[in-house]
Symmetry: C2
Subunit: 331 residues, 2 copies
């Protein structure tokens, strides 16, 4: 740990850093320290609370790294009376008290822009994989079954399938663009109908599901979207329906999904996220119509580099009174 800040810290703008203790920071920290005076409670022997209340009263910018593990709630924010900006390293913001930020006029910048292409690529990959049985086929070959059984079950064609996208944000809209090139038709649900979007809008997910062969979940997790895909939506999607989740595990009533997959009451699923990850329901491990993924949808070396650029870009823009590169619009 670097407890001796470089001498020029006094003239650099202060940035408070919140991060999980297990996180190794080295390359990013070095890049940040070239521009900012980092205040990191984990570098201090003081308890975090007193570090915040004693040393961070004048701090205007907060950086949260790997933020789903570090809640940014009213209790924390009340200790930071000068705060004007929160920069998070994730696309999701379920750990940030957004209504509180709106009330206090604290701007929030997230990292969707760095992650959305990888997320969309991965959503499409899992969708084709479930439909065409790619990883199932890989298991079949690796197990030596091909020369013995010869016949491997056919999957389904992508072209002409109706894909319902839940959450047409940056990942959702890029997923839609890709799927159009496969001949899929697109419809979507989001909090509000979006202007200038060519796809049909459904005001609720149940109706979207009733008119879709495949649902792709890429909305934020909020109290309003927790278990947004439950019994009703799964019934509407029907026996042959497929669910792809690159959002958050708790968007889906996982118990209900597992029950339906086991009973053949839903066609298949591609899941990058789970309600209690890294715990994955045991029943899923034996099913051939699911593709399971260790929360890697948005993660590539390229996206991790891009998120660092974006974090530094947002902080520099803020301290130069320039527009933020990825301001989250409060609704």
């Amino acid at each position: 740990m670097d407890t001796n800040p470089p001498q020029n810290d006094a003239v650099l703008p202060k940035v408070l850093l919140l991060r999980p203790s297990a996180l190794t920071l080295l390359p990013l920290a070095a890049r940040l320290r070239a521009h900012f005076h980092l205040l990191d409670p984990l570098d201090s022997s003081e308890p975090a609370q007193s570090f915040l209340s004693l040393r961070c009263r004048s701090v205007r910018a907060l950086l949260c790294l790997f933020t789903p593990f570090v809640p940014v709630n009213a209790g924390t924010l009340d200790l930071l009376p000068s705060l004007e900006l929160i920069v998070v390293s994730s696309a999701g913001l379920e750990h940030v008290d957004l209504p509180y930020c709106r009330r206090r006029g604290i701007a929030v910048a997230n990292a969707s822009a760095a992650f959305c292409e990888d997320g969309a690529d991965y959503a499409v990959a899992m969708l084709i994989d479930v439909m065409r049985r790619v990883s199932h086929g890989d298991r079949f070959v690796r197990a030596g079954s091909w020369p013995v059984q010869r016949e491997f079950p056919l999957g389904f064609k992508l072209g002409g399938k109706r894909v319902g996208i839940v959450g047409l944000g940056s990942i959702g809209s890029k997923t839609a663009k890709r799927l159009v090139s496969f001949g899929c038709s697109i419809a979507y649900n989001s909090r509000k109908e979006k202007p200038h979007v060519p796809y049909p809008y459904y005001a609720n997910v149940r109706d979207l599901a009733a008119n879709s062969d495949i649902l792709v979940l890429c909305c934020a997790l909020t109290e309003g979207t927790r278990h947004i895909v439950g019994k009703d939506v799964m019934s509407a999607l029907g026996k042959g329906g497929v669910i792809i989740n690159v959002g958050r595990g708790a968007l889906v009533d996982e118990k209900e999904l597992v029950r339906r997959l086991v009973r053949g009451e839903i066609g298949g699923a591609g899941l990058d996220v789970f309600e209690k990850e890294p715990k994955v329901p045991d029943e899923l491990l034996a099913l051939d119509n699911v593709v399971l993924s260790p929360h890697r949808a948005v993660m590539t070396p390229e996206s991790l580099e891009a998120v660092q650029e974006l974090i530094i870009g947002n902080l520099r823009a803020f301290f130069s009174n320039e527009p933020l590169r990825s301001l989250v619009q409060h609704e």
Copy 2:
């Protein structure tokens, strides 16, 4: 087997059927018999050769089903002096003596049009899978490794990658169109430069490989393309390069590919086809940077229905003196 042809056979146009003996034909045969008088050597007690030479002298149309297993060579074609059309149920034509057909003016219709979308979808699926480690991640989760090891290796971003397509036919051009939507840049090799194609052309595969991160093989297998991806091309593609093969196994020098994969001299591979299918080299079964598939790229229930439509459409067009629906252009 239906050895009693329906009474109206006398007035229906004759179509000679060549098929592997193991093939169960029922739904297609019933549909064909509504329009054509099928002559099937496997329905006869005569040896195939005498069936052809005695009963098929006036046959103008030949239908080959699951044709890679039924060679249509000069020996067979010499027995059919009236032949004007060969319809095959596959995209590949390596089992048909095309130079002989050209000399005799026999038209050939293939089934690419029914298969190309599924083939392109699958090529893209395997490409993303290798790059983003989708089926590797699925194995990791199924093995219960996620809660234990936590860290799963990152894959690579698709956007910005240079994809070289070997064979810009119907599957290749549809693969290119899809990959553009992921932000990949496309270049291609084929026998000749294609007019009206926006992608850079390389006259040889070695140069294409030297300028690509990923090679996608979807050309026909001919004497000219056997082992078109050998040592030189793999060296040019380089250590991080990826090979996707949805064409035929023998397009690649498989021994060389396996050797390089094992030694880490090539980045990864997605293989739907193999030199001695269904035999897959044992060394591949343990590698995490390969995706293995039991020759299913073009196969969905939808494509199998489409190929039946296309076969019947071609035969009906021929006997009505209308343009064939999928005439193969001799070069």
